[in-house]
């Protein structure tokens, strides 16, 4: 098998057997108008408006975007400026729930019978990549089949971050949605082959998916070695197909598109029900969680503080959106769950080990999946040597954190790489 460098992590997937349940409906939700990569949405409701579940509350004409829908029924009590955990600001709609969860009359299964209607439906569903960066799904599907023909759909079910089990539960609990979603994408986009990639630490999921696809020739279940960051896009493309997504390219330039397993299942769910993306499966875990660790369907916009309270994690010293390797720290637990959060982790210990001087051991170089040289990048960054940073290809760094993790001197190499990238003028 094609193998890039990486690291072995403790899996800590203690919630893997926790069946997903509905999270108690919050009294109010905060729905930011930017939950995806690309342009934020315009808010299309006003203070005082009554809204229903699935009603569109934000949209834009911008190409790179995805509409946003109300996760609850109730009243818009405020439209505020909101500071997101990633540092960006946008408008956010505060909705007080009336507890009835009345469904919007517009919610009806869409008619999908060709490529364009599939893409239009996916856009209307508000779907973005559920696994990571929040790339609007309809844009990923809307490639030009002449310029960049695609022959392989890669389903990313690696879930290589510790603790998180939401994709795993998706496979076990809704295998039909997953497989029908894949078949729909293959059918309407004309993609002959699907490589469904699962890490070998999830044997139950591999077994189930193999059973369910026994009759389906176009879906190939690929068992990947469990290694971090196996689920990173360029890594999984290489592991599954041996193709190298070069600098400045997207996977589609190599004839593949990569979709997260929960994302593809959501396409089918939308086709089946017409209910846009208004809630999602979240893993709540971490050593500060004292009760109810597990997987939940959480309405978008639910404040993290409610999750922490429900799980007895109010004493946490560090709270993350996402996994321990690439997750973002919350500075304030009033932040809401947004579309691309797959986990909320709460930890008792927040401090990282002290940084000491680099001993030039080369571990950072040996663990980098992209063969970058973080030790050299750090020196070049300190010297503000932009040309050297370009030669070292710091822009390829995906911030996976393997280098920082492995460094015996605990140098914040991944962070330095992100700072170094900013020194390089964009073309």
């Amino acid at each position: 098998m094609n193998k890039l460098n990486g690291i072995k992590l403790r899996h800590d997937k203690g919630t893997k057997d926790c069946e997903t349940t509905e999270f108690p409906l919050p009294k109010s939700v905060v729905v930011p108008m930017s939950q995806h990569m690309g342009a934020p949405c315009e808010c299309i409701v006003n203070k005082g408006d009554t809204v229903t579940v699935g009603q569109k509350i934000g949209d834009t004409d911008a190409f790179m975007s995805a509409p946003i829908h109300s996760p609850v029924s109730g009243t818009v009590t405020d439209i505020t400026d909101f500071l997101l955990a990633n540092g960006a600001t946008c408008k956010a709609v505060v909705i007080e729930s009336d507890g009835e969860q009345r469904v919007c009359p517009d919610v009806a299964p869409p008619e999908i019978n060709d490529t364009q209607s599939l893409i239009a439906a996916v856009r209307e569903s508000g779907l973005t990549g559920l696994g990571g960066a929040g790339f609007p799904t309809h844009i990923k599907l809307n490639y030009d089949p002449v310029k960049t023909p695609v022959d392989t759909l890669i389903i990313n079910a690696a879930e290589c971050e510790p603790y998180i089990t939401s994709d795993y539960r998706e496979m076990l609990e809704s295998p039909t949605d997953v497989i029908e979603g894949i078949l729909m994408v293959q059918k309407y986009l004309g993609i002959p082959l699907c490589k469904f990639c699962i890490e070998d630490n999830k044997p139950e999921a591999i077994k189930l998916m193999k059973e369910k696809t026994e009759e389906i020739r176009s879906i190939d279940i690929v068992t990947l070695k469990s290694s971090y960051p196996q689920g990173a896009e360029k890594v999984i493309v290489y592991s599954a197909t041996g193709r190298i997504v070069e600098e400045g390219e997207l996977p589609v330039h190599q004839g593949v598109i990569v979709m997260n397993v929960s994302t593809v299942a959501s396409i089918y769910r939308y086709a089946r029900t017409g209910m846009p993306l208004v809630s999602r499966r979240i893993t709540i875990a971490g050593d500060a969680v004292t009760k109810n660790a597990g997987n939940y369907f959480v309405p978008i916009g639910t404040r993290v503080s409610e999750l922490l309270e429900y799980c007895g994690a109010t004493e946490a010293k560090k709270v993350l959106y996402g996994g321990p390797m690439m997750g973002i720290c919350l500075y304030d637990t009033e932040q809401p769950i947004i579309k691309n959060n797959n986990a909320v982790l709460a930890f008792k210990e927040g401090k990282m080990p002290e940084t000491t001087a680099c001993i030039r051991c080369g571990k950072c170089v040996r663990t980098c999946p992209f063969n970058l040289m973080p030790v050299a990048i750090e020196s070049a960054y300190k010297a503000k040597d932009v040309e050297e940073l370009k030669r070292l290809k710091v822009t390829l760094c995906m911030n996976c954190g393997c280098c920082s993790y492995a460094c015996p001197a605990h140098r914040p190499l991944a962070e330095i790489n992100q700072l170094a990238k900013m020194l390089i003028p964009r073309k």
């Binding site: 890039l4 709270v319 080369g362 015996p408």
Partner: protein, 328 residues
């Protein structure tokens, strides 16, 4: 909820530290150091202790005087002291050991900024400085395993490399006989520096470090391999080749000094070049030079070339556009 820690990802770190790495190196050196004590007696223990203590004291003082954070707890000064001690004959006066430690820690390491910043291996450089300044202590008067010291034979007072090979003619054929048997060389019953004679212990320590991935096998394989190949081609004798590998600090050099992180290349390609360079230079000095011992010089010379090797052996980033790949 307030007062949360906010830090950039990743939020996990491997259970490792500089001190742990150094501890592993110390553990790997202990068998050879103990063998030195067995063969050279209490004085060997004394010299190694003096080196360790003075290295630690010099390191602590340097950091205090330079008003930098204290680094004694990273154990690197202990490694340097131990290595230096193992690279001295047990017979050196104590003050020579202290001077060596001063050179290693103060001049070679701390003046260049401390751990990771020095360009030459502290213990090697100190050994060379002592060899040039105290030549008589460092080479003429080699320590002998103590149970030989009252015997008068060819073994007395010479390292395997400096000792004359015995030549004799029998039935018209010339024979060369090594002053020590290969078995003696393997277990370390020869003259030499405290820690360099016991091949068995050095190999065990080196393998240990390779297995726990503290050092890469590339350097020792390239070093020993290229030296052995050249020696074999030059002498045509397997015994002499083996003899050369086991003698004169080649093993301690290849496993413990040529693998020093700070002063050797980072990438595997670089390590191979470094190792081959060391092997070739050692061979040349031993075969054609006036010093019997080439290992220290070879490593020092390659230390000086390391920044250039590093520049030439950068990794090729995954997916980097070919036309503008890094390196030049």
């Amino acid at each position: 909820m307030k007062g949360l820690y906010v830090s950039p990802s990743p939020h996990r770190a491997a259970d490792n530290s500089t001190a742990k790495v150094m501890m592993m190196v110390i553990i790997a050196l202990i068998p050879a150091a103990m063998a030195g004590c067995v063969f050279f007696g209490a004085r060997a223990a004394l010299i190694m202790s003096v080196c360790i203590v003075s290295c630690v004291v010099f390191e602590a003082l340097c950091r205090i005087i330079m008003k930098k954070e204290q680094t004694v707890s990273d154990l690197s000064a202990i490694v340097t002291g131990l290595l230096l001690g193992m690279n001295l004959p047990a017979t050196v006066p104590v003050y020579v050991a202290v001077i060596g430690s001063f050179v290693a820690i103060v001049i070679v390491k701390q003046l260049f900024g401390g751990i990771g910043q020095n360009f030459a291996n502290p213990a090697i450089t100190a050994r060379i400085v002592l060899m040039l300044s105290f030549t008589s202590y460092m080479s003429n008067n080699w320590a002998v395993p103590y149970w030989y010291s009252d015997l008068v034979d060819a073994k007395t007072g010479a390292t395997p490399l400096a000792a004359e090979w015995l030549t004799y003619t029998e039935n018209g054929v010339n024979y060369k006989m090594a002053p020590f048997t290969l078995g003696e060389m393997f277990f370390g019953e020869t003259g030499g520096c405290i820690g360099e004679t016991c091949a068995a212990a050095l190999i065990a320590g080196g393998l240990f470090l390779i297995i726990i991935r503290v050092i890469s096998p590339a350097t020792p394989i390239a070093f020993i391999g290229s030296f052995a190949l050249l020696t074999f081609l030059y002498t045509g004798s397997g015994t002499e080749t083996l003899y050369g590998v086991l003698a004169g600090g080649l093993l301690i050099g290849a496993f413990f000094m040529a693998t020093d992180y700070a002063t050797t290349p980072i990438t595997t390609k670089g390590k191979i070049i470094f190792g081959i360079g060391c092997g070739v230079i050692t061979f040349v000095i031993r075969s054609f030079g006036s010093y019997p011992e080439g290992v220290s010089f070879s490593i020092l010379i390659m230390n000086l070339l390391t920044p250039y090797i590093d520049k030439l052996t950068r990794t090729v980033p995954f997916g980097a556009k070919k036309a503008e790949r890094s390196g030049k």
